[in-house]
């Protein structure tokens, strides 16, 4: 029984390193996984029917009133117990008159709510108001307590966990295989010894590397190959220095572009309004967030994903409130604000000039051309390499937008005559000149 020792131990090492790699890749996966809290059970459907009331409430009242929380106006659940119906009719039809008439209850309500007058709704009939009151009188569906036995949580979290479990199992199997190889080898050797068979005594031949070293042609070819290969890798390494493509820092508030720009289709320029008119796209100031989030204090159940729970998103909105100094219970600003330390992602070097308004407003380029499919990003990252080659390539390929821009009419005529073309690219307009971006 002859055994080639050298070969075997090599493969062993290969296996070992593979197993090692797998183990490490496992831990790195584990770091990436965010602990997802158990998703809350959905609120049970309410009994009772005042469906029409709900409809009316949503289209007429919900701008200022919520059922269970103070908004611009007071919370409306159970309002029928506080006032009689005749009073409510009068109030809804014209609250200003009621206040003017000196009705004590009306004045009290008016003053309790920062003297914000309520829009009069003369168009709502008493029947309509009855339906709305029926809707607001519904008992609040309690968030169902976790009933033992009916497991609700966890089921949606499976996706993230099972992946790492599978990887872990694979790594384990690999490790076991390696150990078994060792053991089998040992046992075989022992069996061989016990049976009196001599185990492979190595015959002294010239080792392969010595044979290789003697062949000068082979050495030459190999060294040339190695030099070229290393040059390739060194070049690749040097070219990525200072390039932050896919840079994805952890931000102080987990803001999801996917929810805002993707699911809710809010225009990029709603928040980044400076991109239209200024050099910088700007970080939206928090008052822009509050334009909506004054009214949206928590996310819907359906917004939660297996990876990020509702509680997680609600916490992010709370962080916004803390930063901007908004008191949810009184619906007013406390005046105690603190800056949010956003981490800047797209950072051009100091020696490059780039102007957003020129690209967004004048050229009419979509934000996505440079920033990628932001509306699908749960976590914002740098899409483009932002290297000079990347800028130049786009300038060479992109035609200048001439329509509705008198500024370009004359120069366009002259230049298109000069180059003999119909449409000018940005490069032909001077988009390759050094001084356009570096000065």
């Amino acid at each position: 029984m002859k055994k080639v020792g050298n070969h075997n131990s090599n493969s062993r090492k290969l296996f070992l390193s593979l197993a090692l790699m797998l183990t490490f890749s496992l831990t790195s996966f584990a770091q990436d996984a965010t602990p997802a809290a158990a998703t809350e059970a959905p609120v049970a459907a309410q009994g009772g029917d005042p469906v029409k009331g709900k409809e009316l409430f949503n289209s007429n009242c919900a701008a200022c009133h919520k059922l269970d929380a103070k908004s611009t106006g007071p919370a409306l659940r159970g309002i029928a117990q506080k006032h009689d119906m005749a009073w409510i009719y009068k109030w809804v039809h014209n609250s200003a008159d009621l206040i003017k008439s000196g009705d004590a209850a009306a004045v009290k309500v008016f003053e309790e709510n920062n003297k914000v007058p309520m829009t009069a709704f003369p168009a709502l009939s008493e029947g309509d108001i009855d339906s709305i009151i029926a809707y607001t009188s519904e008992v609040k569906a309690e968030a169902p307590a976790p009933v033992p036995g009916t497991a609700v949580a966890g089921s949606s979290d499976q996706g993230g966990i099972s992946n790492s479990v599978i990887l872990g199992a694979l790594a384990l199997v690999m490790a076991m295989l390696v150990v078994m190889l060792f053991l089998v080898n040992n046992v075989l050797r022992k069996v061989a010894k016990a049976n009196g068979i001599e185990v492979a005594s190595k015959t002294p031949t010239t080792p392969i590397w010595k044979a290789f070293a003697k062949n000068q042609f082979l050495v030459l070819v190999t060294s040339i190959f190695l030099l070229l290969a290393s040059a390739y890798f060194v070049y690749g390494f040097l070219m990525q220095v200072g390039v932050d493509q896919n840079y994805e820092p952890i931000q102080p508030i987990h803001y999801s572009h996917k929810i805002h720009a993707g699911d809710n289709e809010i225009n990029c320029k709603y928040c980044h309004s400076a991109a239209r008119v200024s050099k910088n796209a700007g970080i939206p100031s928090l008052n822009v967030c509050m334009n909506c989030h004054k009214n949206i204090a928590e996310v819907a159940e359906s917004t939660a994903t297996p990876e990020y729970s509702k509680a997680f998103y609600d916490e992010q909105i709370q962080k916004l409130y803390t930063a901007v100094g908004w008191d949810k219970s009184t619906q007013s600003y406390t005046g105690k604000s603190q800056p949010v330390k956003w981490v800047r992602i797209h950072n051009l070097p100091d020696f490059v000039y780039f102007n957003h308004s020129q690209h967004v407003t004048v050229a009419g380029i979509e934000c996505q051309t440079c920033h990628g499919p932001v509306e699908t990003y749960e976590i914002q990252k740098q899409f483009a390499p932002l290297t000079m080659g990347w800028c130049i390539n786009c300038h060479r390929k992109t035609d200048v937008k001439m329509e509705g821009n008198e500024y370009y009419t004359k120069i366009h005529e002259e230049l298109s005559k000069k180059y003999g073309v119909d449409k000018l690219t940005a490069a032909q307009m001077g988009g390759l000149e050094c001084g356009k971006c570096h000065y």
Binding site: N6, S9, N10, K13, L14, S17, M21, F24, S25, S28, N58, S59, N60, C61, A62, A63, C64, H65, S71, T72, V116, P117, A123, W209, Q240, V241, G242, V243, D244, N246, Y247, E248, P249, N264, E265, I266, N267, K269, Y270, S273, V277, N280, N287, V288, M290, N291, C292, K294, N295, I296, A300, P339, K341, W342, R344, N347, P349, D350, F351, K381
Partner: protein, 181 residues
Amino acid sequence: MKRVYKITLLFGITILVASCHNNSAPNYQYFPNMYESVGYETYSESNAFKNGKEGQLPVDGTINRGFVPYEYENTPEGYELAKANLKSPIDSLDRSSDKGQALYEIYCISCHGAAGNGKGKLVEREKFLGVPSYKDRVITEGSVFHVVTYGLNAMGSHANQLSAHERWLVADYVLKLRSQL
């Protein structure tokens, strides 16, 4: 033998280093003093100021270039006055351009809807409720301008996203939509 072992080790380390590449940290820079500005960068931290921020609020009473003072107050009375008296300064050229529509489709469409019927994407998805149709409210160009400037009830102020001129363009387009409802 030993050499093979060393090569394997080196290979393993390379793979490990490569796999540790971290996207949450920026890459190294070559000659960073060419990259990083000596002057203060926008929104950066700086201990030159008391509150440690580069971004400072303008001094009280500062007026930016092109700013036209708006004299109606953010009160219910101011709203009524604006509704009754405020007239748009924009000319017919602006009124016939599609700039107002373009702005409306950025800043208003999410709630008020493309037709101005209060059925925007956010309302459809029940994120934001109670947005009225323009048809159901008595509005004038003055009152629209006033509300876009200061906000009203659940709607916030859009004065820092839209200049006064742009707000007039939007107000004009809102009335155009209202007449089509």
